[in-house]
């Protein structure tokens, strides 16, 4: 039933692997040219230099961009393919759910590919021994795996009723996501601060900041703690919020898509 989607996903994963490998190779080449490749350790470093969740966060953001491309799955079918899709011996909801399941697996695979290439990059630079598996690594893994799925759900809900217009919506959704995070971080006067905070409740980025401080430096991925709106909330709340965005978005997407008839 979802063969075209399997082709789209395998093609997307292939290109993701190629692009990330090229980027990693480029930086390894630069590092090697500057001698870092052969001298990975600049003097003694503490054992918590590179927390593993930092890699999850980076993989989560990469997978989020990948997910936004596939969040248009149903919207793409609206671009003239409904006579093919809707004349298969399966209900529309079942078709949509099958496609979403395939996409979800693809997004997890993208996360995995990004993570493996990140770790391979570290290994090439001899930095692998400095990676520390922190106590919250498991929870952070779930959180950053849910980040692309939340983007996927949200963008699917936004685009499922549209055809080509869905492409533009994806781009605007990303801009919107960053802009409202920025506005919230700047703490503008009310009511803008309140509006930005409210809008951030449906912004996956608001639940995905990561910060880690070691003896030498502070590592910030995404927003970092300062701009994150819900810093006081526990990781569990972040996970729950991302899960709700993911499931509610997908469900809304299916409901809207089923009713696209002319």
């Amino acid at each position: 039933m979802y063969y075209p989607q399997l082709l789209r996903l395998t093609n997307g994963l292939k290109w993701l692997t190629i692009v990330l490998t090229c980027v990693a190779a480029f930086f390894i080449a630069i590092a090697a040219a500057n001698g870092v490749y052969h001298h990975p350790a600049h003097g003694p470093r503490s054992s918590d230099d590179l927390p593993l969740p930092m890699f999850f966060a980076m993989a989560g953001f990469i997978a989020s961009f990948f997910a936004s491309r596939y969040a248009r799955t149903l919207s793409e079918e609206n671009e003239g393919h409904l006579p093919v899709v809707w004349t298969k011996p399966v209900s529309r909801a079942e078709y949509a759910m099958t496609v979403i399941a395939a996409d979800a697996l693809g997004i997890c695979a993208a996360f995995g590919i990004a993570l493996v290439i990140e770790l391979a990059f570290c290994a090439a630079l001899g930095a692998l021994p400095f990676i520390q598996i922190t106590s919250d690594a498991g929870v952070q893994l779930i959180r950053f795996l849910l980040l692309p799925l939340a983007y996927y759900g949200l963008m699917m809900a936004l685009t499922a009723s549209f055809g080509k217009a869905g492409r533009g919506l994806i781009g605007w959704a990303w801009c919107f996501s960053f802009v409202i995070m920025l506005i919230a971080a700047l703490h503008p006067p009310k009511p803008w601060d309140t509006i930005a905070t409210l809008l951030n409740t449906i912004n996956p980025l608001a639940y995905a900041g990561y910060s880690h401080t070691n003896a030498h430096e502070t590592v910030n991925i995404g927003s970092g703690p300062a701009p994150t709106v819900f810093t006081s909330l526990a990781l569990g709340i972040d996970i729950a919020a991302l899960l709700v965005l993911c499931v509610a978005g997908m469900a809304a997407g299916i409901v809207l898509w089923r009713r696209v008839e002319a």
Binding site: Y3, G80, T87, K88, P89, V90, E261
Partner: protein, 302 residues
């Protein structure tokens, strides 16, 4: 209670877009094993009718039943649809489309699909986006016929095809109906419809204007053509007779298009003393044009 021989029953189907009725109160019964041609000018409502039949458009009112039951997803295992515009994936190859069909339909017959691909001389490795319009139509037909459907809905199935392949399509349609399939198709090439269809319906501006068996329609519809010494005389209300489709006057020439009761109309016109009078048979194209083409501005009267 529905007729057991009726495969597709359309009852009072209406589809409105705002104030415009694309299809207005359409009722048609299509028997099992028949080839049903849906004729109409552009915008007559043919494609909308197909879309409403298959659930691709939501009907404003009315119903469609297949073998007495409303449309359900599992019915598509026995149905195929070829839309007017290519709905295939441009980025996928012909072979990938065949694989898509194989995975989706239990009834998919790979041998038949291969034969059809060869018949239409399609390149399996080529992306569908690189196919010509005719080749895209041909690929859609290959997919449609590859599952041995019991019901086929074909919207302009010969669109863009060369004459050789158009003939192949007609042969396929006729062959499939001979195997018991029920086929509904539309075409602007009325000669093809006349050759393949055993029944037709003519839609005009969303309403059903004429329907029936092709041979019966041809037997019923006649043109009484009279030439008078001077300008054609008044018909004294004859044009209001339900049997009169429309009347065309060109100077001394009078043509009256008649449905049924041709003899009576012929006698009524003969009584007006024409110099010559003859009754002409009609082909399907004439019937179609006389059904949709009446226009007082062209020297005709309803």
């Amino acid at each position: 209670m529905s007729d057991p021989t009726t495969t597709i029953a359309i009852n009072g189907l209406t589809k409105r877009y705002g104030e415009t009725a694309a299809v207005d109160d359409l009722t048609i019964a299509i028997p099992q094993g028949s080839i049903f041609g849906l004729l109409g000018t552009n915008g007559a409502g043919k494609t909308t009718t197909f879309k409403c039949m298959l659930g691709l458009a939501r009907a404003t009112s009315g119903s469609v039943a297949f073998n007495g039951k409303p449309l359900a997803p599992e019915m598509f295992e026995q149905m195929s649809y070829v839309p007017e515009r290519c709905a295939l994936y441009e980025w996928m190859t012909g072979a990938e489309h065949l694989e898509m069909q194989r995975r989706a339909f239990k009834r998919y017959d790979p041998k038949r699909a291969d034969r059809l691909v060869d018949m239409f001389a399609l390149d399996r490795k080529k992306k569908v986006g690189k196919y010509s319009k005719g080749q895209q139509t041909a690929m859609a037909l290959v997919l449609a016929f590859s599952t041995h459907p019991e019901i086929l809905v074909l919207d302009e199935p010969a669109s863009g095809l060369d004459p050789v392949h158009q003939r192949h399509v007609l042969d396929l349609i006729i062959g499939e109906a001979a195997s018991g399939a029920t086929i509904v198709f539309s075409s602007h090439q009325i000669g093809q419809v006349e050759r393949a269809a055993d029944r037709v319906a003519i839609l005009h501006q969303g309403t059903l204007r004429l329907a029936g068996e092709v041979e019966q329609l041809k037997a019923d519809v006649k043109v009484v053509e009279a030439v008078f010494e001077t300008d054609a005389p008044s018909l004294n209300g004859l044009q209001n007779d339900p049997a009169v489709g429309y009347v065309q006057r060109t100077g001394r020439l009078l043509r009256v298009y008649v449905r049924g009761r041709g003899d009576e109309i012929e006698k009524a016109i003969a009584a007006k003393g024409p110099r010559s009078l003859r009754v002409l048979d009609q082909n399907l194209e004439d019937i179609f044009l006389s059904t949709v083409g009446a226009s007082p501005s062209n020297g005709t009267e309803a």
